[in-house]
């Protein structure tokens, strides 16, 4: 009898008490462009080779006529949920940390930029 009581009680508590949850997930390349120890790119000087060595393979390489684009993307998804039976809510935010580099025909940096939204790099 006692063996059944505890699981029943636990199940009853689980079902009737309010609950909350939180989750998060990262996807994509590591956002090394946020790392202060990585040298800042210099327009007209930094090359494709420098960027690949510093940041690794890009998420996407795009050919734009006489230009090449390296596109880096890291996605961070986090969510929270509250289950109160009468009122429930689930909120999920997806943040995109992006970096883009435009190179000329010689592989020299022409333009670059980072997204305003950013994800703290792993320590």
């Amino acid at each position: 009898m006692n063996k059944q009581l505890l699981p029943t009680l636990l199940l009853a508590l689980t079902m009737t008490l309010p609950g909350c949850a939180s989750f998060e997930r990262n996807q994509g390349v590591e956002n090394a462009w946020r790392d202060p120890s990585v040298a800042a790119p210099v327009i007209g000087q930094t090359t494709e080779s420098d960027i690949i060595k510093a940041l690794g393979p890009p998420s996407q390489v795009i050919g734009l006529g006489d230009q090449t684009v390296f596109y880096y993307l890291m996605e961070h998804r986090e969510g929270k949920a509250g289950i109160f039976l009468i009122y429930n809510w689930v909120k999920e935010d997806t943040i995109y940390d992006r970096a883009i580099f435009f190179f000329d025909q010689n592989g020299v940096l022409r333009e670059y930029g980072f997204s305003k939204e950013k994800i703290e790099p792993p320590r």
Partner: protein, 205 residues
């Protein structure tokens, strides 16, 4: 008695709000977008990398997107019919969207621009759920797919029609772009013979 039953049924039911946000709102107020004056470098400095980017004949196109989806559900507990552990949930979804489209010429100078903010109805749904569950009832997958940058390396691993058309795909960054939520039965996508059916799942669908 009926009124009492209705009252009890409604008061013991659950309302649910499910929200999903993708990216940050586009801050156009603090930028000066002038056709023939603004260039790619300034755009990337002000807004960062775009959500979508592609080469065009004689230039390139960039699109920035922001998406905030909300699904509101009304749940009605079924204890009045003896199903104490279950509820029916009626959901309705809407999406607040922002998009900034920028077209540049070969020299990187802004050729065309447009910013829009709008709210769209994305549908309704109905579900039979456990009463303590908070599950979506509205199908939002057409808006919430992963960025094309994550699928780039898989372009040749899809179904045969998808693979054969990978060279012209709007996901490649070389043949135009499309907004989130664009139906797959449109333009170049029709060649990929994709399906929106729930049963057919695979790399190409």
């Amino acid at each position: 008695m009926v009124a009492l039953l209705v009252f009890l049924s409604l008061t013991s039911s659950g309302c649910t709000i499910i929200g999903s946000r993708y990216g940050e709102p586009i801050d156009v107020a603090h930028s000066r977008l002038e056709e023939g004056v603004t260039d790619v470098g300034q755009i990337v400095e002000w807004f960062g990398p775009p959500t979508h980017l592609s080469a065009l004949p004689g230039g390139l196109v960039m699109v920035y997107e922001y998406l905030d989806i909300t699904e509101r559900q009304l749940g009605i507990n079924l204890n009045v019919v003896g199903l104490d552990w279950f509820k029916v949930a009626f959901g309705r979804g809407s999406a607040m969207r922002e998009a900034l489209v920028l077209v540049f010429d070969d020299a990187g100078s802004l050729r065309a621009k447009e910013f829009r903010r709008w709210t769209e109805d994305i549908g309704k749904g109905f579900g039979f759920q456990l009463f303590f569950a908070a599950l979506p009832t509205v199908d939002k997958r057409h808006l919430t797919g992963p960025p094309e940058q994550f699928g780039w390396g898989r372009a040749t691993l899809g179904t045969l029609p998808v693979t054969l058309n990978a060279g012209q795909s709007v996901d490649s960054g070389s043949h135009g772009i499309e907004m989130r939520g664009t139906p797959v039965s449109l333009g170049q996508r029709t060649l990929e013979m994709r399906t929106t059916g729930r049963k057919k799942k695979g790399l190409g669908n």
